[in-house]
């Protein structure tokens, strides 16, 4: 690592202004777990880091609004999210996802905003939050905007955030009465980056025999360049009563529509097979209330 100037602005707006210069060697730093790795590898050599650690406390808050929607400050750590009773009650799928997200030390430091803005497709929360219908509110010199989370990602490690635009808050519609699950598949050791993540959120009509799906949101990660919604697979489930045949059709649709990429975790062909299997398992897990 090489020396850099470290700035610690007291407000998010001030931080955004410091980053607006357009100088690519000036970088924001929240929990810093990803930035530190990139600096240590020498792929990032900033002249100036703008730490967000000292910004207003409100950006670390976690709460529910009157509509039951969750408001998560971008500077909330992943472990704060994991331990939050609000999250556990209103969006249990998030709490479950966090248990196997990286490790305790990373969760203690990494922030929700950094996790989302890093745009590494192997991250666990983006597919879950997109499936739940989350949106992010940003702050920049012009004020800011609110965008659906699924519109945030534009490519591998790339977002639609402008220079000097920072995520301030994440808004997540409450999970209930929808049913949700996130399954990830690691193909080497258990703590490996996933080969595939599948998040499923289902709006169902509970009936005596089996469940009919009113609405489905399916998002996959890790196997694709960006977290990806699978519209065709969602369409198969919409209005259907879930059985083996429906799941098979949903799996086929998913495998044909997703741009799956092969890497050290598995070939593209194999990951497409994983997608079929894990999609079905995620739907069943959601219906069983295991997510």
């Amino acid at each position: 690592m090489t020396p850099f100037e470290l700035l610690e602005p007291r407000t998010l707006r001030e931080a955004a202004a410091l980053l607006a210069s357009g100088d690519a060697t000036v970088r924001p730093f929240a929990g810093g777990t990803a930035v530190m790795l990139m600096m240590k590898m020498g792929v990032l050599r900033p002249t100036r880091l703008v730490s967000l650690r000292a910004v207003e406390k409100q950006y670390s808050g976690i709460g529910a609004g009157a509509d039951g929607a969750l408001r998560i400050g971008a500077m909330a750590t992943l472990s704060a999210l994991e331990r939050s009773p609000v999250i556990r009650n209103e969006a249990p799928v998030i709490a479950r996802t966090l248990r196997t997200l990286s490790n305790v030390r990373v969760r203690n430091v990494a922030t929700v905003g950094g996790h989302l803005a890093h745009a590494d497709p192997h991250m666990d929360l983006p597919p879950v939050l997109i499936a739940l219908g989350a949106s992010v509110t940003t702050v920049d010199a012009a004020g800011g905007r609110t965008i659906p989370l699924e519109k945030l990602y534009s490519g591998y490690l790339e977002t639609s955030l402008g220079r000097g635009e920072l995520i301030a808050e994440v808004s997540v519609p409450r999970q209930a009465p929808r049913r949700a699950a996130y399954l990830k598949c690691t193909t080497r050791s258990a703590d490996d980056w996933p080969a595939l993540g599948v998040a499923v959120v289902l709006d169902t009509l509970r009936e005596t025999e089996g469940a009919a799906v009113r609405e489905a949101r399916i998002v996959i990660s890790a196997a694709t360049d960006t977290p990806t919604r699978l519209a065709k697979a969602e369409a198969v489930l919409r209005g259907a009563r879930v059985d083996d045949a429906v799941l098979q059709r949903a799996g086929d649709a998913a495998a044909s529509e997703a741009s799956v990429i092969g890497d050290a975790h598995g070939s593209a062909a194999y990951k497409r097979e994983l997608l079929r299997v894990y999609l079905a398992r995620a739907v069943r897990a959601a219906l069983a209330g295991e997510g």
Binding site: T187, R188, S189, D191, A264, G266, A269, E273
Partner: protein
């Protein structure tokens, strides 16, 4: 000795002596060392796998503020005219000289007081190469036109490696052959003949303390502080390179943060020694985790095995061919090729055996010893082969083994008659623990269950020497001086137990002095599970020598040690608390070299290690994912000196091999390792450990071993890989012959079996 002091230290699970230091973070490692005026070295490495160095431009690196000096191979050659080292061949340059032979090879070093500055500048060393054709595959290396070394220079340091003959214009560093009976003829006569080929992948030791060494120049002397498993060898080799007497080179080794065979012979020691002498300041180099991938690895291997079997299930003949991928420098690969090569037919009683085992140079990072010294590769082949034969013959795999195993009193492939090798007992105990004869839940739906049992063996390296000194102080406490390196295996505790047992003193009163070649006597190295037996015997003799001298002293002053404390014996002699009793002991076992053409010898090894593994697995037929639910390790370790530490060794070795079986693999692109980090090279964590881990040391005794003990560090590795592959075959009827056993490999095999192969 007085009755109340006779506690019987040997055979008890005494907690490790250094426990407090380790749980408080205060244990001493080279990692912690800071010396006044010390410079940090950072290495600039080759970016290509094979090429001539045309030009090294260090100007930009030298210009970085804070850089003390940039050193290249030419600077080293000015200090040491022939700067090549190695235990088998003097083939490895301290820094690359005229050409580079693998991507990641050290080419230059930047020295600075600030390691960040050195790292920054190392990235600015500009090297121009003329690329040469490269060879990566061990079988291709046999005939490749790409030649890694134009000239081979046998080292001649160790007696067992003296006969090595290098050849010119070949990548074969060593070809070992063994001929017993006439295997070709016996194969022709056999009722059935089976032939299979197996592969293993290149993997890495990954000690969590990466390689680290420091050198401190004195007035005509040099002190090297190093995380090394072989301090005596380091001293000999550095003295040879510098043409100094050994007495002017001092090598000190504290605790090691893991070794596993990586930290043997010369790694960074020659480099820091040369740098320190060039700049006349202490120099330390600590590698990063990434750099460990460019330093030493475990041999990938291709193994072909062919057996003739009689109608009744007796194996009558076996041909083994093994190609070891040694990478760019031989390191200790030739010894693996020979010493492990001769066990390639497995622990079976086979009349006609031919073995050809080849050490090959390739343009990959060098390979050397890794916990098992080639044995896990061999067992992977012969125990897969054994199960495949049993399956074909429709024989129970345990029964098939029973029929063929090598029993005490029978000659092994070298002709050496087996003794104290509890092969039958180990096989029976693993089968019993697995409830082999009883019905087994085979699973249902998409989860299928299977199980496998395998057995492997190893001959300890010979002949090697250990020397120990016991210094009994006048208050009755004592110090043990030995050069065995405690890298986690618990040798300090085991050796102290031997001393405590013989002198009848409390173990807490014994200090084990860590290797320091100016203080502790010679030891060949801490490797190959040799310490308990060799150093254990030397320590036993040293303690007995001290005890005999104490008894003589007691007689001289007219007391009995049965009734008089040791301190009182000294007081009677010296009139106060003064004096020492020095006991010394050395040990070298007998050995008879193998015949060069046939590999035959009446005495191949002082002892055999035997290990069996039983595995139960669940296979997810929809994904190919394998969950190892139970792993049973049974071993003949003689009579354990410390049963808890022995169990920990068996278990730890098995879990390490589980990583080599399920997930670990170095990936390469044009010879460049592409997954050189723990984010991309996955070693087992807690969630990967099977819920059912069982370990057992069978009731056994090693004659000639200290208190009946022998080595155990590697035994748990032997059978893990084939036991799991056999269990997968048992569960879902597919056979994998290459490691690692990834979910995708299993899935593809399942699809192929269904006649519907996965298309890319």
């Amino acid at each position: 000795m007085r009755a109340e002091e006779k506690r019987g230290a040997v055979g008890r699970s005494i907690p490790r002596l250094e426990g407090r230091a380790k749980v408080t973070g205060r244990a001493e490692y080279v990692h912690n060392l800071r010396l006044p005026g010390m410079l940090y070295g950072k290495i600039a490495r080759s970016t290509i796998a094979h090429g001539r160095i045309k030009r090294i431009d260090v100007a930009a690196a030298q210009a970085v503020e804070g850089v003390h000096r940039v050193v290249t191979g030419a600077d080293i050659r000015a200090l040491i005219p022939d700067p090549h080292y190695g235990p088998a061949f003097h083939d490895q340059p301290i820094l690359a000289l005229d050409k580079v032979r693998y991507a990641g090879e050290p080419v230059a070093v930047v020295l600075a007081s600030d390691p960040h500055v050195a790292e920054e500048a190392a990235g600015l060393v500009d090297v121009q190469y003329e690329a040469l054709p490269a060879v990566y595959d061990e079988v291709e290396a046999m005939t490749s036109k790409a030649i890694v070394h134009e000239v081979l220079k046998p080292a001649g340091t160790f007696p067992d490696l003296k006969h090595f003959q290098g050849r010119k214009n070949t990548n074969v560093a060593l070809d070992f052959r063994l001929r017993r009976g006439d295997a070709e003829a016996a194969l022709k006569k056999a009722d059935r003949v089976f032939e299979h080929t197996f592969r293993t992948q290149q993997v890495l030791h990954v000690p969590l303390e990466p390689f680290v060494s420091a050198a401190e120049p004195g007035d005509g002397t040099l002190t090297i502080h190093t995380a090394s498993q072989s301090p005596s060898f380091v001293r000999t080799e550095i003295a040879r390179l510098l043409e100094w007497p050994e007495s002017k080179v001092r090598v000190k080794v504290p605790y090691l943060g893991g070794g596993f065979g990586a930290k043997l012979y010369i790694k960074l020691e020659a480099l820091v020694a040369a740098l320190a002498l060039l700049v006349r300041r202490p120099v330390k180099i600590s590698l990063t985790m990434e750099e460990q991938f460019y330093t030493l690895t475990k041999h990938a291997a291709t193994l072909r095995i062919k057996s003739g079997v009689a109608k009744d299930g007796r194996v009558t003949a076996r041909l083994c061919e093994v190609w070891w991928n040694g990478g760019a420098y031989a390191d200790i690969g030739p010894r693996i090729t020979q010493k492990s090569g001769f066990t390639a037919p497995g622990p079976y009683d086979i009349e006609h055996v031919h073995i050809d085992s080849y050490a090959l140079y390739t343009n990959l990072p060098p390979a050397g010893a890794l916990r098992g010294f080639g044995i896990p590769q061999l067992v992977w082949a012969y125990e897969g082969h054994t199960d495949m034969i049993a399956r074909e013959l429709k024989m129970d795999p345990v029964e098939f083994r029973r029929k063929n195993i090598l029993r005490d009193g029978r000659p092994q492939a070298t002709g050496t008659v087996m003794q104290d090798a509890a092969i039958d007992k180990v096989l029976e105990r693993v089968a019993a623990r697995m409830d082999w004869g009883k019905p087994f839940d085979r699973g249902s739906g998409t989860v299928r269950r299977g199980r496998g049992v395998v057995i492997g063996f190893k001959a300890v390296i010979a002949p090697t020497t250990s020397v120990a000194i016991v210094n009994l102080y006048a208050d009755g406490s004592c110090a043990l001086y030995c050069s065995t390196v405690d890298m986690g295996q618990g040798s300090d505790t085991a050796m102290a137990q031997i001393v405590a047992e013989i002198l009848g003193i409390p173990i807490e009163s014994i200090t084990v002095v860590h290797p320091d070649t100016e203080v502790t006597p010679y030891d060949m190295a801490t490797l190959g599970s040799r310490s308990t037996y060799h150093m254990g015997n030397a320590v036993r003799r040293a303690a007995e020598d001290a005890r005999d001298k104490l008894l003589a002293l007691a007689r001289e002053v007219g007391v009995s040690v049965e009734t008089t404390p040791i301190a009182e014996v000294f007081r009677r002699k010296y009139g106060m608390q003064a004096g020492n009793i020095i006991g010394s002991g050395s040990f070298i076992p007998t050995y008879m070299p193998m015949d060069h053409d046939t590999g035959q010898t009446a005495n191949a090894t002082p002892f055999w290690m035997v290990g069996a593994t039983g595995a139960e697995v669940e296979v997810d037929t929809e994904t190919g994912r394998v969950r190892v639910t139970r792993l049973v390790n049974v071993a003949d370790v003689g009579t354990p000196i410390n049963p808890a530490i022995v169990e920990s060794q068996l278990s730890g070795a098995a879990i390490m091999q589980l990583g080599f079986t399920m997930s670990e693999k170095m990936e390469f692109s044009a010879g460049q390792c592409t997954n050189a980090s723990l984010a991309q090279y996955k070693i087992p964590g807690l969630l990967d450990v099977p819920e059912g881990m069982e370990n057992e040391a069978v009731d056994a005794e090693q004659k000639g071993g200290p208190f009946g003990a022998k080595g155990v560090g590697e035994t748990g590795t032997f059978g893990v890989s084939p036991a799991i592959a056999n269990a997968i075959d048992d569960a879902v009827g597919v056979r994998l012959t290459s490691l690692p056993l990834t979910a995708e490999a299993v899935y593809r095999a399942l699809r192929a079996k269904q006649g519907n192969p996965l298309k890319d």
